[in-house]
Amino acid sequence: SSPSPGDTSVLAGLYGPAEVKGSKELPDRAALEVLLRPKVGLPGVIEHSREQLLRQTCEAVVLGTLHPRTAITLVLQVLSDAGSLLACCLNAACMGLLDAGLPLSSLFCGVTCALDPNGAIVLDPTTRQEQEARAVLTFAIDSAERKVLMATTKGSCSVEEMQQCLAAAQRAADTIFQFYRDSVRRRYSKS
């Protein structure tokens, strides 16, 4: 699956539950691994840190206890990057999990907020807006009670500004969940 806000595009492939190598085996739950491949070059430190954020978010929703001693691998390939990359990766990961039929306790989506020097909130910023912004915040929001699964900030902002961004992100999450519902409906209407 490859959702794309604007021109950012990420392709997600999910493999699992599959056989796991001895050292990575967990006795009571599935071992989730995320691989993020950039468009050019080898994966660096930024990709590895994003992989960890994605892995922690996915582990919170996947019911891993139903498949102990197995491995679930999620591979994300960046096709084009025009801003809000982490949020796009989160959305692609969720759609991949949905598509593969893994048991989930809820869905999640990613929303990026940028605070420009005037203090205005911009949702889903482009690369240029991200560079000019004072702070860029990315939230992963779950579908059950709109709670925050993951939050990461680049730059500095006050606590009130973060709360405002969070409220805006929770409102934007509704549109994304409706999009999930519509695409699943379209898929199952064909069969």
Binding site: G16, H67, G101, S105, L107, E145, R187, Y188
Partner: protein, 259 residues
């Protein structure tokens, strides 16, 4: 949207449900766990069966897979109170007890055969689990053979075990699949469609050429027709059936039978 999470289960039957949706079940009026009931006047309440894609939670049923919600009304047997489940499309197979599957023999380890069934672990098959097998009369199974059997043990904690006999000791169609033929993989949803009673696809194909067909619930299909060309034609039609509508399929078959 954050507050109105629960929807009545009956209202959602036949609609698309997503993970995280909570389905509310109608409350039973005589459900009081406090009072003990004595005597013959106890009418056994039907037990509601919570099928694949659903889990019980505090409020009702929690949906864990996306798909169409299905319901079977109350009847006799194990699910006396009715059953709810989610029809989802998947390619990866997870072993379930009682499923008939096609396995490929990968290793012979003493008295056990190891089979690849497409799940996360390899299944084991004892050499005595064939009809008429004794310690002296061993079945002739080689590495690379195809076996059609059912799961005796299949849960998340243990290695899956298969057998090729049913509970009365007869093989009832299970065992080693013969020579030749073609094995290929399709999605699990297509297998369920083909296994439905009076499946149109199989009826239409059987009018085209005579062929032998084995369907495994793990997404594997084995086909054998008189010639290699006929076998490959049937394989291509079955693979394409997943994405074709009924009219497109009838057109394709008409073109083939015309040739």
């Amino acid at each position: 949207m954050a507050t109105g999470r629960g929807a009545a289960a009956e209202a959602c039957v036949g609609q698309v449900v997503l993970p995280g949706d909570v389905l509310l079940l109608p409350a039973h009026p005589d459900e009081d766990g406090e009072r003990l009931r004595l005597g013959a006047g106890v009418a056994p309440r039907g037990r509601l069966l919570c099928g694949p894609g659903l889990r019980r939670c505090v409020a009702g049923l929690l949906v864990t897979k996306c798909g169409l919600l299905r319901h079977r009304p109350a009847g006799d047997g194990a699910a006396a109170g009715g059953a709810y489940w989610v029809d989802s499309q998947q390619k990866r197979y997870v072993p379930v007890k009682g499923d008939h599957v096609i396995g490929i023999v990968t290793a012979k380890a003493g008295d056990l055969f190891k089979l690849d069934v497409g799940g996360s672990e390899q299944a084991s098959l004892s050499y005595l689990a064939f009809e008429g097998a004794t310690k002296r009369n061993r079945p002739n199974v080689q590495v690379g053979d195809l076996i059609y059997g059912q799961f005796l043990v299949a849960n998340k904690d243990m290695e899956p075990e298969m057998v090729c006999i049913d509970s009365s000791g007869r093989s009832s169609g299970m065992g080693i699949i013969g020579q030749d033929g073609f094995l290929f993989k399709v999605s699990l949803g297509l297998i369920r469609k083909l296994l439905a009673p009076k499946c149109e696809i199989i009826q239409e194909l059987s009018q085209l050429y005579p062929f032998e067909l084995v369907l495994g619930m793990n997404g594997r299909i084995w086909v054998k027709a008189k010639t290699v060309q006929q076998t490959l034609i049937i394989v291509n039609i079955l693979e394409a059936c997943e994405y074709m509508t009924a009219e497109q399929r009838k057109q394709a078959l008409a073109k083939l039978s015309g040739n």
